[in-house]
Subunit: 173 residues, 2 copies
């Protein structure tokens, strides 16, 4: 495996277990909280991650490999998960996410991407020209931003409860 | 258990496994990265959390229960972990954190804190008057802020690698 791919796989393979450790069995008060209208609850984040596994990362990677810049990516709907996963229980979402991620990483590893493939270009519908290695790095950073979101949304429940300590807690700024 | 304590325990009991899922076996390039001088690596965060279990949360809780506002808390040294835990391997830190957290939650639950105790006041050396329930909520939010920090520090490695996608990734702002 090239270094770029193996670094990415290290993180991508850990996200399902990380979210399981954080969210399985957790009370509704923690998994159904959000940051206001049109923001994600921790449960929504799982739906969004599942939808990305189904429609975003590997499909875009295949578009680059098969069509390069000629065929722009299908736009990704951040809220596209709602129809199918909007009301599903957390444990079902955790299981589905872990299964899809495992299958997608198997596909990624099987492609055995090397530097020439990693430098291939695709066309993002809004951002324009992007490379395959940027897509891989974004898959990783997208996982991390949503893990950060889950804990930030949870912490927000306590923004008043912590009293004067709020000044010390960056997550509440 | 009072509602306040049981809510807090739900989150506090999950943090060691969450950090284990994220960090165990992860390459040095991910666990030794930081955000610049005097910032924490993911490994440093584990040391800092251990030091909090040893010297901060339960000791402060006991000061409130035993002395109230009369005796200010001992100041907490954010970098106090370095002498003992500065160079320890990640797996050793994860194990130590999990053991201490488990013992501290056993102590917390055994205290069976009820609303009259939760309203008791203590004196923070910088912030002044705080309550026991604010201390408990801060313990929870402190866990969450450091989980967020670990993933933010990891994501920072890719702030350039993601290319134009950086604009979409809140964790990189």
């Amino acid at each position: 495996m090239s270094l770029v791919v193996s670094e990415a796989v290290q993180v991508l393979s850990r996200t399902p277990a990380t979210l399981r450790a954080l969210l399985t069995g957790l009370g509704e008060e923690w998994v159904e909280t959000d940051e206001g209208p049109e923001t994600f609850t921790p449960r929504d984040v799982l739906g969004h991650l599942i939808y990305g596994e189904e429609t975003d990362w590997i499909p875009r990677l295949r578009i680059i490999l098969e069509s390069g810049e000629k065929r722009p990516f299908t736009p990704f709907d951040r809220f596209g998960f709602r129809a199918q996963y909007g009301r599903a229980p957390v444990d079902e979402l955790l299981r589905r996410f872990a299964e899809l991620r495992e299958a997608n990483l198997r596909d990624l590893i099987a492609l055995d991407l090397q530097p020439p493939q990693l430098a291939l270009r695709g066309t993002h519908p809004e951002l324009g020209m992007v490379t395959l290695s940027q897509l891989l790095a974004t898959w990783v950073a997208h996982d991390l931003t949503h893990v950060a979101q889950v804990v930030r949304v949870m912490a927000k429940r306590y923004e008043d409860t912590v009293g004067p300590w709020r000044a010390y807690l960056r997550i509440l700024q």
